[in-house]
Symmetry: C2
Subunit: 438 residues, 2 copies
């Protein structure tokens, strides 16, 4: 083969859990096909892992329990970090860079929180850090934004980027089940962790969204400024009312270029049921991107799992191999824009973002209550799109209101006033609404 | 800016029609954002076009009516071929390559038919030929397959890759309209050409499918072996019966790695209405790809139009700029696999492909007819999934049969026998069915 004259590339895999095992197996099973693409053989030179993985036949591969040994191994060209977490992973990646090795990682938390520092170190040592697997598993969304859409001024993007959350929202809708009930099943199926906070409270999605936002808008990673709201408070009733109004509720990460800054927010969102992304179900992920030239494109696929994630890890390895001896000017910059060209766009506090809203409240069923509510909204300049008042046998009836787009601060003020009404029981539930018209 | 020290890249645009005009405008409007990504300024040095485009302010840009002059201009680094067609486009591209220039083209017909020759010439002169815009307009599907999925043995892919056809199929379903009626509207709207053959008979889709198949399976372009069947014979009734059975009809390009070769076929196809790709409507395109590691991923967006296509053209220019001074070993090969590593997989004649089928026939309404039909199918080993017999006031009633997957040759034999029955009037309509289960 062409490239047969080129030396094989030697890879060190650190972490041999779900994704590490998948990566090892894919590299082995598809070795020939991958070499035909990459122009060189790719060899797993060493594995750094505390435990063996029963799904992997690692016979003949050098093993160590010390991942830092892999980062320092002079034989190795590319270090693949798949141990997860922050501290050791960061030390591993920085050690590998320090030793002049290219790095591939699937660690969204590491990149979202420490990416700026890591990319700076990589830039200095003239090595690549590739992280396609860190967002939306097997979907090549980072490549799409960084390279495929490079002609565009990107206006916004919105993604279903946590499979656990989407599984829960899908089950709640399809089967009319309660959040807690579905969460328990997700835990039993292995979709959700014993401590589900990371998934259901939107932290995992915020890590991924932070990365996508930086790629889209060319700005440093700013995870600490992301707004996150989870799905644990969504009730079966909300799902049902949304359905009646022609919407589905999805847990979305949304980032948008606004006039005075960038919106960066993860929250449950009503989407029109006719939108393609509203029909992305189960554990699947999808990211919808709006660019000024291309308009809307969407990328769909499995967001997790051993081999889907390995698919992205190995694609990164092939990318690295394909530009292994290129100089810096011939490489794609880590965050899509040249390092010196990152903008200092401010991330907007959520009160300064605009959105339409679904509001649900319990109101006494007597004349004049609806008028009071709508007049409070009117005073804040909030236009109403639709109102549903449900019949019940209770003293209080649920009132559902869909508003048009409004500054969140104005909605907050209106909600405070509505909650202060004697005729309103308890607090007002609010869920943001997006139409993705443009 | 970093890269400010690097010389600007000079581009020559040939053809200033819809896509050429869009490319000129996007390069101009987003010049700053694009330079921040590419690390260099990109300058349109010269335009080769017979006519000016009223949507473009080309003041200050050198113009020529001779596109070959652009291909020979020593100042130019990248020639962008947007004139379309075969002869002049081929001469232009080969002349540009001969003069050591990189080429970007949106010309699917040129690549599908003359790509092998063009890539060989480019390889010899060590220049790149990029053609993202040739398939599915603004969707970065070529990059996804070539780079994003490089870890995978790709099993199959299926795409809605002709917007005109999808617009027609969508209107027929949504509004119960006839093919001819919608086609006329599509022509009035400018979605379809005066001579719609290229679009509705599947030739345009076959050009694109040929390119995708080569990228997926690593084989030379073999457009002449593609099977094409158009949508002009699909009736309103077929759309309606499909709907009753839970399916939608889409005009798909499908390529699949089979045991003894590669399937390469464009034809109307019934898809379960719950499949995401069945919900891709209007002029939008989508490509569903099945890889052994990642599973199924889908790529969705506008398949045509000035700026969506320009988005892909400009992304290609940025790709070329990003690896402008790289040597051959540090570039992505044209057809995803290294040139010496292309396989000689045979394209299967359509009779040797397998598919499930929707059959519609007119049968006399008398006892025993259905038994005769099903026994013919049974003799060919064709299992039946569903049968609908419609009531009408006519002597003959429509019978609709869904079969399980079968070798096309066996179905052909069965249909010949069914058509020979005295109780069957006219010919049997057949439409392939795909479930995309794996």
């Amino acid at each position: 083969m062409r490239g047969a004259g080129l030396k094989p590339v030697k890879v060190g895999i650190c972490g041999l859990g779900t994704v590490g095992g998948g990566t090892f197996n894919v590299l082995k099973r598809n070795a020939e096909e991958i070499a035909r693409r990459a122009g060189r053989k790719i060899i797993v030179e060493e594995i750094g892992a505390r435990r063996i993985n029963p799904d992997c036949d690692t016979k003949g591969t050098q093993m160590t329990s010390d991942v830092l040994e892999v980062a320092r191994n002079p034989e190795i060209d590319v270090v693949v970090e798949l141990i997860g977490g922050y501290d050791v992973a960061k030390e591993l990646v920085l050690t590998a860079i320090e030793h002049g090795k290219h790095v591939v990682t699937a660690n969204k938390a590491l990149i979202a929180v420490h990416g700026n520092e890591i990319f700076e170190a990589a830039q200095k040592k003239n090595v690549m850090v590739a992280f396609e697997a860190s967002v939306a598993g097997g979907i090549p969304i980072i490549k799409a934004i960084r390279e495929g859409l490079s002609a565009n001024k990107i206006n916004w993007l919105a993604g279903i980027i946590n499979g656990t959350g989407n599984f829960i929202m899908t089950e709640m809708r399809d089967k009319g089940r309660d959040f807690d009930d579905v969460l328990k099943e997700a835990q039993e199926l292995g979709y959700a962790e014993a401590d589900p906070t990371f998934d259901v409270e939107g932290i995992d999605a915020a890590h991924k969204l932070t990365i996508l936002a930086s790629l889209a808008f060319g700005m440093p990673l700013q995870f600490e400024k992301a707004f996150t709201e989870g799905i644990s408070k969504i009730t079966r009733d909300d799902v049902q009312y949304a359905e009646e109004l022609g919407y589905r509720i999805k847990h979305l990460g949304i980032t948008r270029r606004a006039e005075n800054g960038v919106e960066l927010r993860v929250h449950p969102t009503l989407i029109p049921e006719t939108a393609l992304i509203a029909n992305v179900n189960g554990v699947m992920n999808a990211v919808l991107v709006d660019g000024d030239a291309v308009g809307q494109t969407m990328y769909y696929g499995p967001g997790a799992g051993a081999e889907p994630t390995a698919s992205a890890v190995v694609a990164d390895i092939v990318d690295v191999v394909r530009t292994l001896t290129a100089d810096r000017d011939n490489r794609v910059p880590h965050l899509a824009f040249q390092p010196s060209e990152l903008s200092d766009a401010a991330i907007l506090p959520v009160e300064q973002t605009e959105s339409a809203y679904y509001l649900r409240m319990n109101a006494e069923e007597k004349p004049g209550v609806l008028a009071k509510i709508t007049s409070i909204l009117g005073e804040q300049g909030i236009n109403i799109e639709a109102i549903i008042q449900k019949e019940t046998s209770e003293d209080q009836v649920p009132v559902i209101i869909l508003t048009q787009s409004v500054l969140e601060q104005k909605l907050n003020d209106a909600i405070a006033q509505i909650e202060a009404l004697a005729e309103i029981g308890g607090s007002v539930t609010r869920i943001r609404v997006e139409h993705f018209d443009s």
